[in-house]
């Protein structure tokens, strides 16, 4: 065990994959000489060389598309898109090619690609650099969507992503890169589609992923001091979604809140709420609630940005309306 940051944990898996699989190479904007916008790939260029760690033009569509093409030819590319906001320039490649080729070719073509990107808000980067599109990607059949919330998850989920054999949208949270946590030194894999009960409880289920896990845990600790025990679920992947774990928890607590950075309207939380009422309506003692991002383009000013993001205090307030 070592105490690592989220970014160091990610780097360990990248290094492991580069060392152990000749088919693996990395490409993206400023991942090499610059060391990565969020420093995840720092040092890998000097260790593995330009053949394995490729700086690309700022041309998201061809970078992702070339990654897909290389995957079609049997390689295992990892494309870093710097931020999820720039992934919109590559959405044709992701949705029309990566997600569809295995199906459209009747299983003849595999697309084993990992597309990493940083999402989320909280650093006053303004409206074009502060978005959460995980729900959009989770909407598309053919994509796996991974949303690690701790250094431990980051290392183990990225390992699984490389070995899954399908297109994986791997969404990191900008606010978590410096977060520290205990991480095993040896390689390990965390399966997709298996949520973690991060904190056990009996009264309300807080359904969390990525950055929102930490609002959920913070709220649960405050509520515990008042005698309310929340169960905190860490989803780890949105697609596949661990519906069994969500339903099992809701059947125990009879109440649920989804916490997400994403916009509320049409967001992924709505999908979870719908799923719960379809399968566990009779177990519910209260409507499923959402603590979501506000439906606004993200403002720059700090106070406004915080008002637009899900807050621990709001989770506490919502829980108290339910119990």
């Amino acid at each position: 065990m070592s105490e690592l940051t989220y970014r160091e944990a990610l780097r360990q898996t990248l290094r492991y994959q580069l060392q152990h699989d000749e088919r693996v190479f990395l490409m993206g904007e400023d991942i090499g000489a610059y060391g990565g916008s969020y420093a995840v790939t720092k040092g890998l260029l000097s260790e593995f060389g330009e053949g394995r760690v490729k700086d690309t033009p700022i041309a998201e569509s061809v970078v992702v598309g070339a990654g897909i093409g290389a995957a079609m030819a049997g390689l295992r590319p990892m494309v870093e898109l710097m931020t999820i906001n720039f992934s919109l320039l590559a959405i044709d490649q992701i949705v029309n090619n990566a997600a569809k080729l295995h199906y459209m070719s009747n299983g003849q073509i595999d697309v084993p690609i990992v597309i990493r990107m940083a999402g989320g808000a909280g650093s006053q980067l303004g409206a074009q650099h502060s978005q959460s599109f995980e729900g959009w990607y989770a909407h598309v059949p053919g994509l796996k969507v991974v949303v690690p919330s701790t250094p431990y998850d980051a290392k183990g989920l990225l390992m699984t992503a490389f070995e899954d054999g399908n297109p994986v949208i791997f969404i990191e949270h900008t606010a978590l890169y410096t977060m520290k946590g205990e991480v095993p030194d040896e390689p390990y894999r965390i399966p997709f589609g298996k949520a973690e009960v991060y904190r056990a409880g009996t009264d309300v289920t807080l359904i969390c992923y990525s950055g929102s896990l930490h609002q959920g845990v913070g709220a649960a600790e405050r509520l515990a001091a008042e005698g309310i025990e929340c169960e905190v679920l860490n989803l780890r992947t949105l697609r596949p979604l661990d519906t069994e774990a969500i339903l099992a928890s809701v059947r125990k607590t009879n109440r649920a809140i989804v916490i997400e950075d994403d916009w509320r309207f049409g967001g992924f939380g709505g999908e979870i709420a719908a799923m719960i009422q379809e399968h566990a309506f009779d177990d519910l003692d209260a409507p499923v609630l959402r603590c979501s991002g506000a439906d606004v383009p993200m403002p720059y000013a700090g106070a406004l940005e915080q008002a637009a993001l899900p807050q621990e205090a709001e989770v506490v307030r919502l829980v108290k309306t339910m119990v």
């Binding site: 053949g51 070339a66 290389a70 079609m72 030819a73 390689l75 295995h102 059949p141 054999g165």
Partner: protein, 338 residues
């Protein structure tokens, strides 16, 4: 490479670029023509649904180019790709079955006219998003460069692609990384129903490739021997590791954009003018005049093409549609145990 790749598993066999055999080129073009005419008949009978884009008129481009390639060179094409598939040697029966939406189709009936795939033949698809397949061709080429092989990727695009951002991103990446891609632009002068001159600031598409430092030339796309000559020469250059190359093949589609096209945007006179340049008729006349073939040979080839098309339609008709229970099959490759 330590691991067996998808393509190696598929059993590709590197071969040599075949020399131009004008009779073989003629036969391929006649087969494509007859196959496409049969498709139009089958569409009229309601056997083929959806969009159907015929290659009639443009046969020389695909035929001449593909004859200049090795069988293991990747082909990545657009949605008017039946001719490319046949020229590459995909089974006509299984191509027709795909158009009928049958389980025996090259894509199991999941793709349709615009999405033919045959990995064993290194035919990596027809794509229906204009220019959206160009990055894939770059990636296939990148993979071969990475593996250190001399396999190349050939990317067919239409003239409509040249104003898409992905066209420019792909040309730039291919040039700056010296990727082994041969771009073949089938410039049939219309992006769907829009005259290229109305929407393109530079209508000579090869000049756009030259702007990225890519060797690019214009060729008469109605002359299969000219296409073959240019493609052979440029493919050799690409294979030698000298980076991408670009062919602008000026050509014309004799039929509408798709079966739904009333063709209000071009004159009958213009169509007639181009029909006089029919790549099949001109090559046939030339080979007859030079006594390379006889009228009897032509009749035999015509009968062969007819039988091929009829057999393909019969096979498709007799094939079963995919079972509805298979709807969710192949969304994901089954992951290896983790």
């Amino acid at each position: 490479m330590g691991q067996t790749t998808q393509q190696q598993r598929a059993g590709s066999t590197p071969g040599r670029t075949p020399a131009a055999d004008p009779v073989a080129l003629l036969r391929t073009m006649m087969e494509i023509r007859r196959f496409e005419e049969k498709c139009a008949e089958m569409y009229a009978k309601g056997r083929i649904k959806g969009f159907l884009h015929l290659y009639i008129g443009q046969e020389a481009v695909g035929t001449g180019t593909i004859a200049a390639l090795r069988p293991d060179d990747y082909i990545v094409s657009h949605y008017r790709e039946h001719g490319h598939a046949l020229a590459r040697g995909l089974e006509p029966r299984r191509v027709m079955a795909e158009l009928f939406g049958r389980e025996t189709g090259v894509s199991g009936g999941r793709g349709g006219s615009m999405h033919l795939f045959d990995v064993e033949k290194s035919f990596l698809g027809g794509y229906a998003i204009v220019a959206g397949h160009m990055p894939l061709a770059c990636g296939l080429a990148l993979a071969e460069q990475y593996k250190g092989t001399d396999r190349i990727a050939v990317n067919f695009i239409g003239d409509g692609a040249v104003n898409e951002g992905e066209f420019h991103e792909a040309l730039n990446l291919a040039a700056v990384w010296k990727l082994p891609v041969l771009f073949v632009n089938e410039n049939n002068l219309y992006g769907m129903g829009t005259d290229i001159r109305r929407v393109s600031a530079v209508v000579e598409t090869h000049k756009r490739a030259q702007a990225y430092g890519i060797p690019a030339e214009e060729v008469d796309g109605m002359d299969v021997r000219a296409v073959h000559e240019a493609a052979s020469r440029l493919a050799q250059r690409v294979r030698a590791g000298e980076g991408p190359a670009f062919i602008e093949a000026k050509c014309y589609r004799f039929r509408g954009h798709s079966m739904a096209d009333a063709e209000h945007y071009r004159s009958k006179e213009e169509v007639e003018r181009w029909r006089r340049l029919d790549p099949i008729e001109t090559l046939k006349a030339s080979l007859l005049a030079d006594h390379v073939i006889s009228e009897a040979d032509v009749e035999k080839m015509q009968a062969g093409a007819e039988e091929m098309a009829r057999d393909a339609a019969r096979f498709a008709e007799e094939s079963a549609p995919p079972p509805v229970e298979s709807l969710y099959k192949n969304i994901f490759k089954e992951p290896r145990d983790v």
